[in-house]
């Protein structure tokens, strides 16, 4: 068994996580964590839907930002996908998607302020990078045969539209619809930094311990996501996309001088502004590295590795919940509900809730990341097992799980897990804003101190780290010959 490369890789990652765990700060510091958790669940089952006058508006804004952001993202992503072969485009796309929506929002907040453009661009920019990559993968895999059958002299555009697009259309549509769901989650969490979406009210209710209000908001959000197939219809899409810009709210007017100031003054390292020259810059950069960047990178990497393995373990434990090879319809339905709730809740919100309840440490973050990502992968491989046909006399119970199913899905399980590696790291960095000492903590601190030069350097470091992990993940996947379809 140990001769299999997939098994060896898994064990290596497990070992890294165990070592990481020794260094990680995992503790429940709250005095009454279970009582608080109980109060929270009590709040969820006694939701108060009439708490805030702004709640319905917030839901509307959440949907509007998601639609506009995803529409612009897919539009620009599509054009970037056409030229994705070019190296500069690839690097550009890798870069813009390596920066989390919340970081983009924090950047735009500094010069657009509370204008709808801040939220729209915060979603549209990273999504363009993601769409470019995925669309180009889909286009590359299109069957070349129809193109070859075209009569000589067919124009390139006509050939593209009539021979390539039709073959990819269904896949691109499915993926775009899926991204819309991700867009709703992104849009919701933008509220945590002050945009008028759901997160704004969720944070307010939560920090005041108004769990019934928070519960109502979460329930509305789940209903919104679970009913996507009902209200997002191809025929209604134009209405939504055209209508959404009118529901972003007014915000405050943009003062364009601020944009110029941000790029020509704010983000210039302070020693250069003060004329301290290269030596001043070196010591500034040195201090920044030693005091903030390195501890941030270390904590980000440790948390990512622990969360990655926890995600894998949870995914393997959770997929039987929806697999038809175990249990009856009742079990499967409740399993589905559980997985839908776990994967619909953004990691950021899960982590926020657990941090409020258990106190600050890496533990709430690990559990939030593992629950959310584990539920996504568990859902995907659980669905995959439903396509597996076992012999009528196959073993049942644990034997079936460990000898029949896990070996059959293990390769695609690993593929999904390594695909999500970079996504987990992106989230890990951002969780720092909640008070865990990852890179996001230092970015947030720099912004709180109005030191945007430092914040930008730290954001660039975070992006570099993500690009590195993305490349490493791709390398391991190709080494192990794992194939996957993209997930968000």
């Amino acid at each position: 068994m140990f001769s299999y490369p997939t098994v060896r890789t898994s064990l290596a990652f497990l070992a890294i996580a165990v070592v990481g765990l020794a260094f990680a700060d995992i503790a429940i510091t709250a005095a009454n964590p279970w009582r608080d958790l109980g109060n929270f669940f009590l709040g969820v089952i006694t939701p108060n839907f009439f708490s805030s006058e702004g709640l319905l508006t917030a839901l509307l804004r959440t949907v509007a930002f998601a639609f506009v952001g995803v529409a612009l993202g897919s539009f620009f992503g599509f054009f970037l996908a056409l030229v994705y072969r070019a190296w500069p485009v690839r690097i550009f796309c890798a870069f813009i998607r390596a920066i989390h929506e919340l970081f983009w929002a924090l950047i735009f907040l500094q010069f657009f302020g509370f204008h709808p453009l801040t939220g729209v661009l915060a979603i549209a920019i990273p999504y363009s990078g993601i769409f470019a990559k995925v669309y180009s993968e889909i286009l590359d895999e299109a069957d070349p045969e129809p193109g070859r059958l075209l009569p000589p002299g067919t124009g390139r555009i006509a050939a593209f539209l009539y021979a390539r697009i039709p073959d990819c259309w269904a896949q691109m549509r499915t993926y775009t619809a899926y991204r819309l769901e991700c867009g709703l989650r992104s849009s919701a969490i933008l509220g945590f930094v002050g945009l008028p979406t759901l997160g704004f009210y969720l944070e307010a209710s939560f920090s005041q311990g108004l769990y019934s209000d928070a519960g109502a908001m979460l329930i509305l959000f789940y209903v919104l996501i679970a009913t996507i197939p009902l209200w997002v219809r191809p025929k209604l899409l134009p209405v939504y996309v055209l209508g959404a810009p009118f529901f972003l709210g007014e915000g405050l007017p943009i003062v364009w001088g601020n944009v110029e100031r941000f790029f020509t003054e704010d983000i210039i390292p302070s020693p250069l502004k003060d004329g301290e020259g290269l030596s001043g810059l070196m010591s500034w950069a040195g201090d920044l590295m030693v005091e903030q960047a390195l501890p941030g990178i270390w904590n980000t990497v440790v948390l990512t590795q622990v969360a990655l393995v926890a995600t894998g373990i949870l995914a393997l434990l959770m997929f039987p919940l929806i697999s038809k090879h175990f249990g009856g319809p009742v079990r499967r339905t409740s399993g589905h509900v559980f997985l839908v709730v776990a994967r619909s809740t953004p990691e950021y919100i899960l982590a926020y809730i657990l941090l409020q309840l258990w106190g600050p440490s890496m533990l709430p973050a690990v559990i939030a990341l593992a629950l959310h990502n584990g539920a996504i992968i568990g859902h995907l491989i659980g669905r995959q097992t439903n396509g597996i046909r076992l012999r009528p006399d196959a073993v049942t119970g644990f034997g079936r799980y460990s000898w029949e199913l896990v070996p059959r899905i293990y390769r695609s399980f690993l593929a999904f897990l390594f695909y999500r590696w970079e996504i987990i790291m992106r989230e890990t960095a951002i969780l720092g804003i909640l008070g865990i000492y990852t890179l996001g903590f230092y970015v947030d601190s720099a912004i709180q101190n109005i030191q945007f030069d430092k914040a930008m350097v730290l954001i660039l470091i975070t992006a570099g780290l993500n690009i590195g992990i993305d490349a490493l993940g791709r390398y391991i996947r190709s080494k192990l010959a794992l194939q996957t379809m993209p997930t968000c």
Partner: protein, 291 residues
């Protein structure tokens, strides 16, 4: 079909820019989010109504999620007036030349930070901070917001000054609760053993009967320092007419609605000047929050 979609996207992005409507002549203000949001919204909507009547102009309050967001909105001229803390006011006035501190609460001349502890720690209140060293070492500790004067700057200053170490080295775990009410709740619940908060918030919550005094108590009070103030941009006269700044100042100083004052809680507002906050600026530079 693809072209059709592309057209729709184009139209929608054009429309998006059209929603950028100007509300130039609305006087907008904000406040640092130092307490529970519902309390802030209630308080500052009252202030907005009051100012609107006094100034005979449209006045709007916008809530923000962080101290830095309040400073940025002020700097970006998206708000023209703000209720800042000592530190955020210094930061904002440095970034906006010509801006002025125009009024402060009567209590803000001599503001204090209270260090509080969960009673399970057994820490005895003291008048001398240094005598608490043994009891405080290796406890868990929370500040309020990273940008707070009474919840971060002053307590950090006294920790460094008294014990000669950074907070991370004095305590086993250091957190930022987000705001003063949250600090109170976290220490009361024992999530953190020790915390530091704005004395006005403590006294108001105590007066309202919202503190379980068996669970949490004040262990040390800092010496007095200047804190909150109303700061206004220097260019408001150009935008809203001559004498506008003075009218805003006068309106704030005249504010005597007991319910509104109680919500701050302040007994009234008195004139303030930028120089009043020099001690805060020096302290912030000393511990490296300001360059």
């Amino acid at each position: 079909m693809a072209l059709d979609h592309i057209r729709k996207f184009l139209v929608s992005s054009l429309l998006m820019t059209a929603t950028v409507t100007a509300s130039a002549e609305t006087f907008v203000f904000t406040a640092i989010p130092d307490e529970d949001e519902t309390k802030l919204v209630e308080r500052f909507r009252g202030v907005a109504d009051y100012l609107s009547e006094e100034l005979d102009a449209e006045v709007r309050y916008i809530p923000v999620k962080s101290y830095a967001a309040a400073v940025s909105a002020f700097r970006n001229n998206q708000v023209q007036l703000a209720w800042f803390g000592g530190l955020s006011g210094v930061q904002a006035r440095r970034l906006v030349p010509g801006s002025e501190a125009i009024a402060q609460g009567v209590e803000d001349e001599a503001f204090e930070t209270y260090f509080i502890a969960n009673t399970s720690t057994g820490i005895e209140p003291a008048d001398d901070f240094a005598s608490l060293e043994d009891q405080l070492r290796d406890k868990t500790f929370t500040f309020g917001s990273k940008g707070s004067t009474s919840g971060r700057l002053m307590p950090e200053f006294y920790i460094r000054d008294t014990f000669g170490d950074a907070p991370e080295d004095v305590f086993s775990r250091v957190g930022f609760s987000g705001n003063h009410t949250r600090t109170l709740r976290l220490v009361e619940a024992g999530t953190y053993q020790v915390g530091a908060l704005n004395f006005q918030v403590w006294q108001k919550e105590l007066g309202d009967g919202n503190i379980d005094t068996d669970a949490v108590e004040v262990i040390w009070k800092t010496p007095a320092y200047p804190d909150y103030q109303w700061t206004i941009r220097g260019d408001v006269d150009e935008r809203f007419g001559d004498g506008f700044k003075d009218r805003v100042k006068q309106a704030l100083l005249n504010l005597d609605d007991p319910a509104l004052l109680e919500s701050f809680p302040r007994s009234g507002f008195i004139p303030a000047s930028n120089d009043d906050y020099e001690p805060i600026r020096k302290t912030a530079e000393e511990i490296g929050i300001l360059d």
